[in-house]
Amino acid sequence: MKRRCAGCFVGLAAALLLAAAVGAEEPPALAGDVAAGKLPQLAERLPRTPRVVEVKRADWTPGRYGGEMRFLMAKDRDIRMMVVYGYSRLVGYDEHLQLVPDILERIDIEGGRVFTLHLRPGHRWSDGEPFTAADFRYFWEDVANNKELSPFGLPQALLVRNRGPRVDVLNDTTVRYSWDDPNPQFVAALAAPSPLYIYRPAHYLRQFHAKYIGPEKAGAQAKAAGSRSWAGLHQKKDDQYRFDNPDLPTLEPWVNTTPLPSTRFVLVRNPYFHRVDGAGRQLPYIDRVIVNISDDKLIPAKAGAGDVDLQARYLRFDNYTFLRQNERRNNFRVRLWEKVLGSQMALYPNLNVDDPEWRPLMRDVRFRRALSLAINRHEINEVVYFGLGKEAGNTVLPRSPLYRPEFATAWTKFDPKEANGLLDAIGLTKRDARGIRLLPDGRPMELIVDTSGESTEETDVLELLRDNWRRIGIALFSRPSQREVFRKRVFSGKAMMSVWTGLNNGIPTPEMSPLELAPTTQDQLQWPMWGQNFENNGTGGEVPALPDVVELVRLFDAWRVSATDAERERIWLRMLEIHAQQVYSIGIVTRALQPVVVQNALHNVPADGIYSWDPGAYFGMYHVDTFWIDPKERP
């Protein structure tokens, strides 16, 4: 007892010293509560060593406290975006895509397989309870290894060669995860926008856990709440990412106060948030975040009417001109940020198509190359994208250290002559009266491309493609459907070819997982059956039949146990090279742009940015907690 108090005192003194040294001020919104004794002083609310956020950007200025920031979302469930924008993670990416500790004070990695996580002493949940190693222990012992809460085992990112980690709680603020082999997925999963949460607010969740309150009480409680089991109720209360439980303590900058369903969510500042600015002032600057729910088709109109402070989600590039028109009248600016998709739009030949004539063709690299060569990318770029895109294949972007120009240009030069030559070489020389080539069984080559039917952009591009491919004797038809039907058709092999966006992460670094480049899930449009085979550990689906694809799987497996960055880079480059040469997906243009509406009164939003889910968490890596509002500029 005595010792603990002494510790407290030392900690307090240190924190006070720190606060005094940098002259930190109490956020005015909290000053009343602090004066009334409802909240402890700032120094007691911050961890002993808070995370100091110093953004080095020319237009970045230290902010002013107060105000509220408005967002628009289309569904109640989108409230999770506030966890993405808040971006409090154990470790997270900064603006330069470097991983830095955030909630953690430090992370020590030995040999890529032993991870020692050091928490910030004195860190607290948003309800004021201490955030300690006990919260990690609760996750590991009572959630991840509880048969009822996790009947399907550990999360993928915790498994290396199907074996879980050893978890040791070394002391109150230190936790160690260790595997026998390197686990490069682990840190990336912690930093993801939808992260792997390896901690839980134990003090709150115990009241739902059968182990702590007994199975009878837990069962009765679940029944009263309309859940089938206590595990269901626990799971429902426990979702830190869904952000739909106002009672669940959080570590994010703003705390949701509104339960679902609602058309307006109010988030208030977390008085225990662990980040401070360079002057030691606690973040976030903005007191309240308001999320209004509206129909997604109405969101561009509402953004144009000035009803938001910061908005990118649900704004499309074709809203750009409308938004620009309203800039002056409603005091905002529209910025164009770069999306990081490997390709704005890509065609995926289905290597698992169930048609016996088409399947060998789709698997023939000459056929895929011919299709790619026959596309007049320049024309599509000019007609559909106002020439703002960049004509290239589906590969990583120049921002990525893994970018090689030859991957982007491989088989993308418009050359119908060579394309025709390749098709002739396959033996598709017979043509019908229209000039369409004939398949070996005599049917005309009518290639049907499935689209998810979500945007007219896809159908516009396919119209142009139809003329392009006509010149190499292939008739193209598009078949718009609906998202689930689309996926079902691809997976069952009914779809010959499909259209979707390119690589989700166009700016990878070697330590990010090359999951997308190998057949790893059944959602991959070019080889769903092979992906399923991998996903289910070799049961179900089909075993990959092409040597290059087998090599991709082998490379991915090697990456999963790789220990050094040099090794990972080598693996990545080889995988990208195979993709570029084998044309498993046919990219059309890259560098798509995302309109971002920023109210004039809102400061510190970068003028140029990248709009990326992972890595980046959309606005998250630009530190939304350091954005601030100038009340004088509010109309």
Binding site: R77, P151, S227, D244, P261, S262, L298, D614
Partner: protein
């Protein structure tokens, strides 16, 4: 009469059972289930999904069970007042719908009052002044009201209201009042926003009602008793309101059957365009995301309202109009 009512009530049971089967089957017809559309939606935004979590939810929501078992579970629950669980909101269905009901009923009620208030005088005027300039002019307006799609009218009016009066786009009140207790300012904000949906939803109904009232009234006005009444020197107002208008109201009573569900569901498309916090858009979203218990229970509730409404209007007609009353067992 009592026996007739009893029969009608008994007949409602197989009707509702049949409706529940149809609703359930139709909701299940599109491929996949809630979780699959949930995954697809996340992936469309580039988000990833943890397969373990999906597997857990599939079990927790009972989506791994055979269809017939899911159906019985739903029906059995409804008999006990449990309308199932909304996957989308992670809440029991009653809690999800409850909040929206008040506003929905409010908007629908205002719309119906608006429809009646406009349609009655116009209908009566048109019938009594048949083929006059006034009749032609109002009929033209009425046809325009029927012909212009509601959603387009909604968009145009919303734009004008925003540009001319600075009303915030969509919704039933300015965002700052949502979730706040009712105050004078909030009520004013609701009034400021609600005239658009009331007029938009009201126009097509108004036009239809004008035409129906005019036609029915015209039929009656030509009958001999009207001529007799006039010949006997009854004042024109009394001639009109005492007999022919009352006769012409039969169609109106039989409309109750369709008005009841209308009050609950509102007009979906207009409500979506205007982004009203009413029940219509919620039903549409539930159907789109295959949130089957929410959608199913909602539709079931609407079906129940229709069945009850039809019964009520049949009974009311019998009470109001002696000609329709059943005599003994003759009508069967």
């Amino acid at each position: 009469m009592l026996r007739y009512v009893g029969q009608r009530l008994l007949l409602m049971i197989p009707t509702l059972v049949a409706i529940s089967v149809i609703i359930f089957v139709i909701i299940q017809l599109p491929p996949g289930n809630y979780l699959e559309s949930y995954i697809a939606e996340l992936q469309a935004q580039g988000e990833s999904v943890d397969p373990q979590k999906i597997a857990f939810l599939r079990k927790e929501y009972g989506l791994d069970k055979p269809l017939i078992e899911q159906y019985l579970y739903w029906v059995w629950g409804m008999l006990h007042g449990d309308f199932g669980y909304s996957f989308e909101f992670n809440l029991p269905v009653t809690k999800v719908i409850g909040d929206r009901m008040l506003l929905t009923i409010g908007v629908s009620f205002a719309t119906i009052v608006f429809t009646w208030a406009v349609a009655f005088p116009i209908g009566i005027y048109s019938a009594t002044h048949q083929y006059s300039w006034g009749d032609y002019g109002l009929s033209l307006l009425g046809f325009l009201g029927i012909a212009v799609p509601n959603f387009m009218l909604a968009l145009v009016m919303m734009y004008l209201a925003n540009v001319l009066f600075g009303t915030s786009i969509g919704g039933l009140m300015s965002p700052e009042y949502i979730g706040k207790p009712w105050t004078f300012a909030k009520a004013m904000s609701v009034l400021e926003h609600s005239w658009i949906p009331v007029i938009v939803i009201g126009t097509s109904g108004t036009a239809g009602m004008v035409r129906k009232l005019r036609a029915n009234l015209l039929d009656e006005l030509q009958k001999q008793y009207v001529v007799t009444a006039r010949a006997k020197g009854l004042p024109p107002g009394k001639v009109l309101f005492k007999y022919p208008l009352r006769m012409a109201l039969n169609f109106f009573i039989s409309d109750i059957g369709s008005i009841l569900p209308h009050i609950i569901s509102g007009t979906e498309i207009t409500a979506v365009v205007l982004s009203l916090p009413t029940a219509g858009p919620m039903l549409l979203n539930a159907l789109k995301s295959q949130d089957m218990y929410l959608a199913g229970s909602f539709l079931m509730f609407l079906a129940f309202m229709i069945v009850v409404g039809v019964l009520v209007s049949d009974l009311a007609l019998a009470v109001l109009d002696p000609r329709i009353r059943l005599q003994g067992g003759v009508a069967r």
